[in-house]
Symmetry: C2
Subunit: 211 residues, 2 copies
């Protein structure tokens, strides 16, 4: 069995969403300066790197990331690979992706994964995301979890409609997956977010296990 | 199959190691104040709550938490329950715990889990940890991963000897488990730390699956 770690490494020079804080990860206590041990300090937005969104991210008063169901975060997931020519994920793209009717978790591998493969440090505003009609098509298919290989599931400057449709349908959203090197197909997904109480998002460690 | 989430919730009023930064988890952007979405900001030490230690925590120049082997972080783990009278985990305690010889992962459920059960917010310096001779006994048994139900695997003011012995033996250490409500026995462990590049520690989400 092969394990794919599809998690981005968290480090100071990683790209973050425009306006979000950048990552600070630095040693606050150092053995070389007389401390008993090395102890680092982490300062970041909770939607940094590979992370999950909770309903309260876009829906005021709704639940936080610690309330996401482990039954949805763990289980079979289909990696759907879209061609490099797919600009955005519309309803038409979803309908032509041949997603079997019993599918509950879909991870889209798009042209975005090439950004990670070549180590792009700058934010890429032209990334591929799910349009509002694509989001509705996923809801209509009964999908419970959707993942994407850039920092938002929605195209840039179109965040709200897609997120609202998905989160109102109680869908779990994983953003910032690195699917470079992962062939299309069915895997066992292990998505474990940090247990941040009441938070609108949380960094997650995400693995795919396959043959 | 039953899933036990043995992870502490990360929140501002949780106890932290003396001298470590407290947790800040607050909404930096708010829909109610006109923002497009709610976005929280996290600021904490990496050894907060349920977390793993990397060799570089006590061994300068050694590897960080992103280098820990997934083959060790995932797999069968034995929860050993010690009596409330067990002050500290010595070699004698390890030898009397009847750990089968093929065991690779051990999680100690001690009197500490009662601190979590009753919601203690203050740091508890009298917690139960593994003494240096207990650490050596675990190494001699071929254990590759050890977990404990308080914020350090070593007794208070005795951090270095225990950590050095365990980390030099390449043992993975999980600290801050909440094992209240978990019966002794064999489980499948899923310990997924945040992928913090080069860090001496990282918060982890930890699950036990059993019958």
């Amino acid at each position: 069995m092969q394990i794919y770690d599809v998690t981005l490494g968290v480090q100071p020079d990683m790209p973050v969403w425009p306006g979000d804080p950048s990552v600070t990860l630095e040693r606050a206590k150092k053995i070389e300066e007389g401390a008993n041990s090395n102890v680092s300090h982490l300062d970041m937005g909770v939607h940094t790197g590979t992370h999950v969104d909770a309903p309260v991210h876009f829906l005021p008063g709704q639940t936080g990331v610690d309330q996401l169901s482990l039954d949805v975060l763990l289980g079979p997931a289909l990696v759907v690979e879209l061609s490099a020519e797919t600009e955005q994920i519309t309803a038409d793209v979803v309908h032509h992706a041949h997603i079997p009717s019993n599918t509950r978790r879909v991870l889209f591998k798009t042209r975005n994964s090439a950004f990670w493969e070549r180590g792009e440090k700058a934010f890429q505003p032209g990334f591929c995301g799910v349009e509002a009609d694509g989001a509705q098509a996923l809801v209509d298919l009964g999908i419970q979890l959707v993942g994407i290989d850039y920092l938002s599931v929605a195209p840039y400057h179109k965040s709200r409609p897609t997120h609202e449709i998905l989160l109102k349908a109680k869908m779990v959203i994983i953003e910032g997956l690195n699917l470079a090197g992962v062939p299309a197909g069915l895997y066992q997904l292990y998505c474990l977010p940090a247990r941040l109480v009441g938070s609108d998002g949380a960094p997650a460690r995400v693995l795919l296990m396959g043959d």
